[in-house]
Amino acid sequence: MIVRSIRVEGWRCFADPVEVGPFGEGLNVVHGPNGIGKSTLFLALVRGVFDGHKVAGEAMKALRPWGRDLGPSVTLELRCGDVDYRLRKQFLVSPKSEIYRLEDGRYVRLAEGVAADERARELLCGESPGRGASDRRHWGLAQVLWAPQGEMKLEQLSATARQTIQQSLGAQVAGEETTAAEQKIAESFARYFTPTGKLRTGADAPPLATLGDQLAKLRERRDKLKTRLAAFDDAVHSIESLRLLTEQARRKLDDLEKQLQKAQVRADEYQKVVSDRDKQTSEAAAAKARFDELNSRIEAIRAATEDQRKAEAAIVSLQEQAASAAREVQLRTEEADRANAAAEQVRRERDAVRDAARKASDAVRFADVTRQLASLEERLEQLRLAQTELDALVARRGGVVAPDARSLAQLQKAIRERDEARVKLDASLISVVWQAEGDWNLETVRADAPLDRPVASGEEVALRGSPEVVFRIPGVGTIRASGPTGSAEPLRKNWEQAAAKVDQLLAVHGGQPLEQLQQASLLAAELDQQIDKVRARIDAILNRKPIDDLRIEQANLTAQRRELLETYPDWEQSPPNPAQMRAEADRIDREITDRIDAAENARQQAVAAVSAAAQQVARHEENLKNAQQQLQAAKQRLAVAQDDGRTDQERREQLGELALQWQAAKTRLAQLEEQLKGFGVDPRNEVKVLQRQLDATREETTTTLDRLRFEQGKLDAIINEAPYSALAAEEEAIDELENRIEREQLQADAIRLLHETLSRRKRELIESLVGPVRQRAMQTLSRITGSRFERLEISDTFDLSGIVPRTSPEPVSLEQLSGGEREQAYFAVRLALADIAMQGERQLVVLDDVFTFTDTSRLARIVQVLEEAAERFQIVMLTCHPERYRGLPGAKFFDLEEIVARHREPSTDAPALSSGGSPATSPAPKTKRGGSRSGGAELFESQLDG
């Protein structure tokens, strides 16, 4: 459907009739300033097509011009397909609706009233709003094609619009039956699953949700019962084993008791034999003792007799040996005496050795004394010379009177101070120097050193004084020289004091001048130095000893030497050789010593021989004494051994009898030992072992019985639980529940499969519809924005739900775009929907100032798109900026302000309506003359009636 013209009257700012048109089939730009009525014109178009003529209410009253109670009316000339229509509606005041169709060059009324309202809506597949004014939901295809000001966003399409689009896309997504079935399937799905496909839980959960838990609990109980049943079997097995063990233990006990009994009998027998053996051992021992006793007695008699005989023989021999030993002693004593005398003789020769040694020692001493004495005399001579030199120096030094360094320094200082004071004084004095150029007389009137004398020519005279110097030269005049103020007296006094001091110090030293004093001082210092050196030499010679000590030492050495010379006077002339004399003395000493040693050895040997002989004699006497004692002892033993009152013969006979007794006892003992061997191992040990085994077995049996009782108790407890019966019931319940779960699961899976298959197929179907729209819209958007965006997210209801930027894989909401890009995205989608869904018939696209946020460059691209779209659509742009579209060839511009003004002014230029010609080219009435509505309406109506 396209529009040819729009005429409004009594419509907001259009109190008087205003007609806009004829619109071209391409791009039309209706422009004017704000408030001129562009959006009002758009509203008139909407109300005219979609609202019922009887609609009242505030929404319709708001259409009236302010302050006026007019009935808004709108007249639209439309073309749908090849048919021209004229639609006229009046609201609020005498509401009416009429639709005319152009037939044979004249408009013929087609319908009126509600029918006319319906016919009008059908042109764009609109819906009746029911009661009240229409909104976009009722606009049908205009919901896509017409964008009111500020409402570029494509709101949720009405079902009719959607269906229309889908139908025009050639697909039936869902009919009524399909929708109902889909709804039921969705409900079935929702009973089982959440929207995310998980099984529902909670209060709304299907039975399947809880059956799993129930089954798990049953299985848990079953497993526990199985465990108990297994415990039952284990307890049975345990008890069987324990009973076997108990039985085995009992048999083992019986067996052990029998063994023990037999072993005990053997042990008793063994014990008896052992007792007999022990007894027999005692008897054999007693017999042996008796035999040994008698045998010992006999042996003792024999031994005593023998000892007696030996002792007597020994006594005789010892006596003879004693006499021989005595003679030996005598001989040895004589030899010892001789050796002793020889040793004495040799000892007496030792004196010579001593003399020689003494002489050698004296010689050594004589040499030492002589040497020491010579050395000492030399030192004394040196000492004398040094002392002489010292005395001379000291005397010389005594003749030098010089100040010491300190005094000299004081004197120098005093002189320096004097001189400084003088300088200061001279500096403070007035000085006059006169060089005579003739012979004159000088008379000093005032000066420090008056000078009254003739002065020869060329002589220079200097006078000084303070505070002036005055002198007279007779015949010449008196000369007075004065200087700066200030007296020189303090300085003079200082100088005089300093000079006095110097004189005083010089006077101490004889008034000599300083130079002489300095020279004297130097000389004194030099002499002092020499004196110190001589004294040091003297100290070295003395070596810390007083000279008296040296002299005393000298006297001693002299006396010693004299004493030695008294003993050996020839030494004065021929001094001895100490080394030679010492060697001779040593030789003599060695010789004598060897001889003495030999004599001493001989003496000692002789003495030893005497001692040995004496010892031998003593031994003989001791042996003799012992032999006599042994003889005595042997006689006593013999007496004791023979005190039994028997003869030797009797004793021998008795010994034989005792031997027989003893042998018999040994034989019996051997027999008993043989019997014991026959038992082998000691059966008493076997009894102990068997007893221990028996005790252990009894203990094991007791333990086994305890365990048996314990296991029996366990078994009884399990039996009371009746685990098998409980298990049977549980397993039956599990089987039943598993069957039920299987059925429920099958049903749930079937519903899920059905739902998922349906959803998937539907998505595929819709994608086949939405895909082309998305693609076309994306192409348009890319022309406007460039490559900023990757994809538009369009739902199956053709809602623009998001946009995928090129820089992100995830879609973003359009709210995150700028206002301009949002406008552009919605524009692209509207255009795409219009392109794809409404092919074949040119439709009206109305855009009421919708690009408010789009920048200039993108708007230019949009204008290019519109230019192309104008080849397929009739586009009416309502804008404040006509200049944006001026560059488009073929665009028709309608200056609304001018149109309104023209309609207000009286005009003779209004062309008459042509009644013929093609409806497509006949212009619509532009203006009306006059300002009354009714006049224009009559004109209009007259045109309608042809």
Binding site: Q172, V173, A174, G175, E177, T178, A180, A181, E182, K184, I185, S188, L229, F232, A235, V236, I239, E240, R243, Q712, L715, D716, I718, I719, N720, A722, P723, Y724, S725, A726, L727, A728, A729, E731, E732, A733, D735, E736, N739, L746, Q747, D749, A750, I751, L753, L754, T757, L758, R761, K762, L765
Partner: protein
């Protein structure tokens, strides 16, 4: 001599795969035990032989032991009870319960030694452990016995096709031991093994109450009559079982087959007998969506009128040609139905869903659309 030979009562056994009615099945076994005693009384039996596995396990509830002892004590004559591999004479066994000693006519056979019985001698072969490769009847030698010699044992007759080799009993055990009759237990079906001269002296009585689907010749006791020593025993099976275990296998080929099956099941037996019947319905073939309600109806029928019923429909396939699917308008629903059909037929490669799930999904879709049309 006239006696009742029974065995394998398996009191307390788990009723596998019958779920909710398991306890009732177990209770029925006690009812059947009462019927055994009734039969014994009716036929004036001299004694009753219970040849092992009276109880399913030695760890059953002791109340059951008391109840069984009380039931057996209801017989006016002696009852000789042998232990089996399920209830061996082991520590903690059911045979230690004082209930046995409280009834003087109940004799637990505890040792392998001949025992005087009314009219003859009994040679018991008690079982003392769950597993053994020993022939329990080996010790029997009745060759010198002049009175009627009866043996009682528990084990597997050699030659039977089985993996169970516990307690093997020679096929000629009765003849070798010179017994007139050897009453054995272990197998739940009635079976006899002819010996010398074709006389059946080695016999399984089978269980007194069927224990599972597919168990043949069970739910009986044997009335055994022997005139004198050496005579061929006359053996009469007498039903004592109370429940009927039926397997119904059917193939569905066309729409409506399921309804026809349902009608036939309704008339399977008398209403009273249906209430004592456990039915296992195994379906093969094609399940048409329009037959889905009939399947549900069949389930309800089984649950309402039978002691227990289950339907095994895992083998059902979607029909090869589906008018219903082709009746769907071209569009989303038809696409979905076709895809599910492929999966159900196993033709969809890469699908994670099983054909069974896909079949159910198709049925669900059919239900949803049917409700919408309704």
């Amino acid at each position: 001599m006239r006696f009742i030979h029974t065995a394998d009562w398996q009191i307390g056994m788990k009723a596998a795969h019958v779920g909710a009615v398991g306890q009732q099945v177990r209770e029925q076994r006690l009812q059947s035990a009462r019927r055994v005693i009734e039969v014994a009384k009716e036929h004036s039996a001299d004694f009753v032989l219970v040849a092992g596995d009276t109880f399913e396990n030695n760890a059953v509830d002791r109340v059951l032991v008391q109840r069984v002892a009380d039931i057996l004590a209801g017989f006016p004559g002696p009852v000789y009870i042998l232990s089996g591999n399920h209830d061996p004479l082991s520590p903690g066994s059911v045979w230690e319960h004082p209930a046995w000693a409280s009834h003087s006519n109940l004799h637990i056979l505890r040792s392998a030694a001949p025992l005087e019985i009314p009219g003859g001698v009994l040679y018991p072969c008690p079982i003392v452990e769950k597993h053994s490769q020993r022939d329990p009847t080996r010790w029997i030698d009745a060759s010198g016995e002049s009175r009627i010699a009866i043996g009682i044992g528990h084990g597997t007759v050699q030659g039977l096709q089985t993996d169970d080799l516990d307690y093997p009993i020679a096929r000629d055990a009765a003849d070798r031991a010179r017994l007139d009759y050897l009453a054995i237990g272990h197998w739940h079906s009635y079976a006899s093994f002819p010996g010398e001269g074709g006389a059946a002296r080695l016999v399984y009585s089978g269980t007194h109450e069927t224990t599972k689907f597919g168990e043949r010749d069970s739910g009986n006791v044997l009335l055994v009559e022997i005139e004198r020593r050496g005579d061929v025993p006359r053996i009469t099976p007498i039903r004592t079982g109370g429940l009927y275990w039926r397997i119904v296998e059917h193939e569905l080929n066309e729409p409506g087959d399921l309804e026809r099956l349902r009608r036939s099941i309704e008339t399977l037996d008398t209403a009273d007998n249906l209430r004592l019947t456990l039915a296992n319905v195994r379906l093969r073939g094609f399940l048409y969506p329009q037959d889905q309600p009939e399947l549900q109806r069949l389930r309800e029928l089984l649950e309402a009128r039978f002691f227990y019923g289950r339907i095994d429909d895992a083998a059902l396939l979607p029909p090869p040609t589906n008018d219903w699917l082709e009746s769907l308008p071209v569009g989303l629903l038809r696409d979905v139905a076709e895809e599910l059909q492929k999966i159900a037929g196993g033709a969809a490669d890469g699908s994670a869903a099983s054909p069974a799930v896909a079949r159910r999904a198709i049925l669900e879709l059919h239900r949803v659309l049917s409700e919408g049309q309704a």
